[in-house]
């Protein structure tokens, strides 16, 4: 891990490859100048030299330390520019920051993962981690939703995952086309048909705020305890060290205390779905 005292200075990373995942989402494959280890669910700050910085949870396996993938939706000042990156260019990375997924707490359980849109990014990293130790879990069910089939990301990964023992994948899109053979509707409809042993299960939710909200409400309705629902919160994390205040959510600094929280921890804080 990097020296915590100098975490304002990014280390350099070279763009190795740019993968187009959907019309608005790209994955940037980075080779950091020195080994970069992180735990799944922790996040990094990605710096464009002299331009700006934005927080991302890596979408690659936490078991790989020489290569880092970041999946980025084109949506703002920094991400628009990140979409223009070409192989060979150099960016900066700071981190890893925050509290990731407590994978050890999931041992022996069924894991329901609910993801939407670009929220698949942290989830893919989690899935890579789970696949590597799959005998430790009863089963892992991924429920993923996107707006259209075109916007479903990580297609090759999903195909592989479907073939992986102990893993089940269900997908839905808000608007299907003729070729779509899976479900149509918002992601919560996938939860309706699930057969899960709720008592021996945990749920992980990551996606746009509105999806997180309805996903969580659905899980609560199904009987999941508040302490077994893990949310990865997206706030305006900047310094990453619980100081600058931009990601405050009530008493929490999301960058340091999160970004992964149980619903129980944050349910009374303001603006959790904003």
């Amino acid at each position: 891990m990097a020296d915590k005292a100098i975490l304002y200075r990014p280390i350099k990373a070279k763009v190795d490859k740019v993968i187009s995942e959907s019309p608005t989402i790209k994955t940037i494959v980075l080779i950091p100048e020195s080994e970069f280890a992180f735990k799944t669910g922790e996040f990094i700050e990605l710096t464009l030299n002299g331009y700006g910085e934005a927080p991302f949870t890596p979408s690659s396996s936490p078991l790989e330390t020489r290569r880092l993938e970041v999946t980025i939706m084109k949506t703002g000042y920094v991400t628009n520019k990140l979409h223009e990156l070409k192989p060979g260019e150099v960016v900066g990375i700071r981190g890893p920051f925050g509290r990731g997924y407590p994978v050890e707490k999931f041992y022996g359980k069924e894991i329901i993962i609910v993801g939407g849109g670009c929220g698949f990014a942290p989830i893919r990293s989690l899935l890579y981690n789970l696949i590597a130790i799959k005998e430790k879990f009863k089963k892992v069910i991924l429920c993923y939703g996107a707006k259209t089939p075109e916007e479903c990301i990580y297609k090759p990964f999903v195909d592989e995952l479907k073939k992986t023992e102990r893993f089940e994948v269900y997908r839905s899109v808000d608007r299907a086309d003729e070729e779509w053979s899976e479900k149509e509707g918002v992601v919560t409809i996938l939860l309706e048909d699930l057969k899960v042993d709720i008592k021996n299960s945990v749920a992980v939710v990551c996606g746009p705020p509105v999806m997180m909200k309805f996903g969580t409400l659905k899980l609560l309705e199904m009987g999941y305890p508040e302490s077994d629902i893990y949310l990865s919160m997206e706030k305006n994390m900047s310094c990453g060290m619980g100081k600058c205040g931009h990601c405050m959510m009530g008493k929490y600094f999301v960058c340091k205390d999160g970004p992964v929280f149980t619903y129980e921890e944050i349910k009374n804080e303001p603006g959790i779905w904003l």
Binding site: Y8, R9, M241, G245, M248
Partner: protein, 334 residues
């Protein structure tokens, strides 16, 4: 710890001497305001004692308005800061908890803290909006100061509180004729302290205390915040001048350098994410946010108080918003 008194003339001589090896800042009266200035031979006589409060909060020495946090800085001389009122000293508690947090010790803050010797002062007079006693802070130095002093009957009474301040005491003793503080002076200090406390408590008798304010703020209705935020122009003065507001903006510079600049949750877009979500979109929510932070959230997470009753936010507000009037209204509606 140790205490003694010296004459004002000897104290000034000591400051002249010390200024060769330290950079000395002291509260100086500029006519219509009091602020810290670098002490030199010309302004020695303008140093003001026993008086609140420098316009600039103490935090500015440790968290400058703008600072490069990637390049290495060198301190040529240690700072001595003289005339810090107890409200600002109390504010250092929260700054330390955030910036010296063991998980991420901020090297720039730490350097500035380590390189500063803090000399507190009694407040023997008060200003209109001073309300430290309402929040459990006495109007004389008790915490976070290496030395404290009080000017009394032509003498400077000095109290040594930390090992860090001991070097200064050694130097002073080389220059000045040191006397034990007379029992009359000890009694005079105690009497004056009690009188100031009494004055502050009586003036702010209707103001709820720190804990009670937190409870009131937490259960308050939106309408009261909407009413008080009407004249707010989101200038951020309240946060900038607050001894415990520490938020900053990180700005990117070429060569992967980063500059942090004081920021305020009062500015639009402070918490806005790239996706467009903005929990602090409405002005009254931003206005309320600062008080939720000070009286509800910070107390849930930190030991130190997040409002020390200095009153600067009231003095600096160009919209004439007085948060204490708001809290009294909340208390009365209870």
């Amino acid at each position: 710890m140790e205490s003694f008194q010296i004459s004002l003339t000897d104290w000034q001589k000591a400051l002249q001497e010390l200024s060769e090896s330290y950079k000395i800042y002291a509260a100086v009266n500029n006519g219509n305001s009091i602020d810290y200035e670098v002490v030199n031979n010309d302004n020695l006589k303008d140093i003001i004692y026993n008086t609140p409060k420098p316009a600039t909060p103490l935090k500015s020495f440790f968290l400058p308005a703008k600072e490069n946090v990637v390049i290495n800085k060198k301190f040529h001389k240690k700072n001595i800061i003289i005339g810090i009122p107890s409200c600002d000293l109390a504010g250092v508690g929260l700054l330390d908890e955030i910036y010296l947090d063991k998980d991420f010790v901020d090297p720039y803050y730490k350097n500035a803290r380590d390189n500063s010797i803090l000399i507190g002062t009694d407040c023997l007079t008060t200003q209109q909006h001073c309300h430290c006693t309402s929040y459990g802070v006495n109007p004389y130095p008790e915490k976070n100061n290496d030395l404290s002093l009080i000017s009394l009957n032509g003498a400077i009474l000095i109290f040594l509180n930390t090992a860090k301040g001991a070097d200064i005491v050694v130097r002073i003793k080389e220059i000045a004729t040191v006397r034990e503080i007379s029992s009359e002076n000890i009694k005079a200090v105690q009497d004056k302290r009690e009188a100031v406390k009494k004055q502050l408590k009586s003036r702010n008798s209707k103001l709820p205390d720190y804990k009670e304010t937190g409870k009131l703020v937490k259960k308050s209705k939106e309408s009261v915040w909407e009413k008080y935020a009407k004249t707010c122009v989101s200038c951020g003065a309240c946060a900038t001048i607050c001894p415990t507001c520490t938020c900053f903006l990180l700005i990117d510079r070429p060569e992967f350098e980063k500059v942090r600049q004081l920021d305020a949750c009062q500015y639009p877009g402070f918490e806005k994410t790239a996706g467009g979500e903005d929990p602090l979109k409405k002005k009254f929510v931003r206005f309320r946010n600062r008080y939720m932070c000070k009286y509800v959230w910070k107390p849930e997470k930190f030991e130190s108080i997040a409002c020390t009753g200095c009153g600067r936010c009231i003095e600096s507000c160009i919209g004439s918003i007085n948060k204490n009037e708001l809290f009294i209204e909340l208390a009365n509606k209870k």
